[in-house]
């Protein structure tokens, strides 16, 4: 089932990805192609198979509650495109 233009647009908004109409069309077509290929996964019998999220077989990896140094304000803001010198600045929250 190919993705509808609405679905593609919806996913783009979920991903906060601006796309030109041309890009949206192209990616929509490419996703159809890929999903078509991927559909073979549905053939595999995995009814009894558990999921694998990680391959390291590790558990209970944690650290002691020891505070360490922070970067500090200047360093924290150094790479930011828009600040007031103390805070990160962003535009209006509400559309």
């Amino acid at each position: 089932m190919p993705l509808s233009p609405e679905e593609v647009a919806h996913v783009a908004v979920l991903a906060r990805l601006g796309l030109s109409d041309e890009e949206r069309r192209r990616i929509g077509a490419e996703l159809d192609l890929i999903l078509e290929h991927i559909s073979r996964l549905q053939r595999a019998d995995v009814s009894e198979v558990p999921e694998t999220a990680q391959v390291g077989n590790l558990v209970n990896v944690w650290r002691d509650d020891e505070p360490g140094p922070s970067l500090g304000q200047e360093q924290a803001l150094a790479a930011a495109p828009n600040t007031d010198g103390r805070y990160f600045r962003v535009g209006a929250i509400q559309e």
Binding site: L3, E7, V8, V11, A12, V13, L14, A15, R16, L17, G18, L19, S20, E23, R26, I27, E30, L31, L33, I34, H37, I38, R40, L41, Q42, A44, V46, V49, P50, E51, T52, A53, Q54, V55, G56, L58, V61, W62, R63, L71, Q75, A78, A79, A80, P81, N82, F88, V90, G91, A92, I93, Q94, E95
Partner: protein
């Protein structure tokens, strides 16, 4: 005469003989980069001040105690631009990080600095390591040292080309679905992807967290082993880093393969393989058999599901890992009146097409209503694939097969995404199962390098090197250099 094109081991011996200094090795490396990079475009940034400091540090380490100074002391290296270096540009090949300088250094890089290595610069790669040709870099493609018109493979194409062109003897890349082994194969160098968790991911810009591993490129298996040991080991800053002891791969390099059981996965020799690649790999397997290895055909039935599994899991993880590039705290930003529009425009202009496509795919695969059909199912098939490897390793000690179904292809030749993704069909399952794998040069097809892949069970990293070294010692492909290396 220049040291460009020598192996790290040869350089290390020259350093200890006093024939050359770290400073001279660094100057030769820079000369080679200056001479060739205009056409190769392997480097995105130079780390000159850092390398200069390291050259002094290495000289001191060597004069203090040449023996305890490690094999990378005074050796020029290159770092894929997904590895953070405090204060130096780190872009992951993306416009969205243009001008970004991280305030910290990746653990793997820190270990190289402590070992006295000389980082020459940051190498070009597919944007956020997403690609198999390095054509997805926002800063232009990389040429293959064997044929400038062809791709070096990817995503770590810059690191592979830098070693293949004799700019540095050892470089580092990241391998999520073949991004070290496949470009190594296409550039005629050695490329090693460690067991998942063996090398710290702290400071490695994430593509797909459950698959990413850092590993070395080198001109010889021995150099690759030393390059691996220098960065391997537990790191408390990476919760997925393995606490297990690292078996010394260098000590087994001369153990040979006599009596070792080697499996050849039927599915890896199937259709889709270039005839030339099939021939070289078949010959290589025969060489190993000649060295006393017991070769048998084995089967990994779910191999053809690997690509599909990967193209759900990797995009899903990347769609989340790349959410932090929103133009607020670092990197590029396209200013708009509202926060949402700023984020959307920033990511529209900051990301390239392949990244957008994968972020879209991953977001879709995780979105409500599709999670079970795609992500959950892919996680289950991932289990199947891992179990098939486990089963096979009950009967064989290692697997040998092609690294890439193709030799280096001409830039722009592949437009269809599936066709491009198929370049990683033989490397992806190894990442899904978290296994160690290496690609070692095994000859040429139409004058282009072919790579032999060796795969071992989890934590069998040393065995991978043992098999690769035995093959290397029986052949002389590794001593071949691309013509441009010496051309003056």
């Amino acid at each position: 005469m220049t040291t460009a094109g020598l192996t790290a081991a040869e350089m290390a011996r020259a350093l200890r003989r006093g024939d050359v200094t770290p400073r001279e090795l660094l100057d030769d490396a820079r000369a080679q980069v200056s001479r060739l990079d205009g056409s190769l475009n392997a480097f995105l940034a130079r780390t000159d001040e850092l390398a200069d400091r390291q050259a002094l540090r290495a000289a001191e380490m060597l004069s203090a105690d040449a023996e305890s100074a490690g094999p990378l002391c005074g050796i020029p290296v290159a770092l894929k631009d997904v590895l953070c270096v405090d204060g130096y540009p780190t872009t992951a090949g993306s416009r969205i990080l243009e001008g970004f300088r991280p305030p910290y250094t990746a653990t793997a890089v820190q270990r190289l600095l402590d070992a006295g290595a000389l980082p020459v610069g940051k190498t070009n790669c597919d944007e956020f390591a997403m690609g198999s040709s390095t054509e997805n870099s926002a800063f232009g493609p990389v040429g293959n040292p064997w044929d400038i018109e062809r791709v070096p493979g990817g995503s770590s194409g810059g690191s592979a080309a830098a070693v293949g062109a004799g700019m540095v003897p050892i470089s580092y890349g990241s391998d999520t679905g073949g991004s070290i082994r496949q470009p190594a194969s296409l550039c005629g160098v050695v490329g090693f992807k460690p067991t998942y968790g063996r090398v710290s991911r702290y400071g490695l810009i994430a593509f797909a967290s459950s698959l990413d591993q850092v590993g070395p490129f080198a001109l010889s298996v021995e150099d690759a082993a030393n390059g691996y040991v220098a960065v391997a080991g537990h790191d408390p800053s990476d919760s997925t880093s393995l606490p297990d002891h690292v078996d010394d791969p260098v000590s087994v390099l001369r153990h040979g393969v006599n009596g070792l059981r080697l499996g050849v996965p039927r599915e890896y020799m199937g259709e889709g393989l270039d005839p030339g690649v099939r021939e070289r790999v078949t010959e290589a397997i025969a060489v190993l058999e000649g060295l006393g290895a017991v070769v048998q055909e084995v089967s990994l039935p779910s191999t053809d599901l690997g690509l599909s599994t990967y193209y759900i899991i990797a995009p899903a993880e990347c769609s989340s890992n790349l959410a932090r590039y929103d133009g607020i705290r670092f990197g590029r930003r396209v200013e708009r009146p509202t926060v949402t529009d700023t984020m959307m425009s920033t990511r529209e202009e900051g990301f390239g097409h392949e990244v957008k496509r994968r972020v879209m795919l991953g977001t879709y695969a995780l979105s409500s209503g599709y999670y079970d059909a795609y992500y959950r199912r892919a996680q289950k098939v991932r289990t199947l694939i891992a179990r098939e490897f486990d089963a096979v390793f009950e009967t064989v000690d290692a697997l040998v097969c092609p690294t890439s179904p193709k030799v280096a292809f001409t830039m722009g030749a592949i437009q269809n995404p599936i066709e491009m993704y198929l370049n990683d069909a033989l490397t992806i399952p190894v990442n899904l199962a978290g296994l160690p794998g290496i690609s070692v040069p095994c000859g040429f097809s139409d004058g282009l390098p072919v790579g032999l892949q060796v795969i071992a069970p989890r934590l069998g990293d040393a065995r991978v090197f043992q098999v690769a070294a035995a093959y290397e010692q029986a052949t002389d492909w590794h001593s071949r250099r691309a013509p441009i290396v010496a051309a003056a």
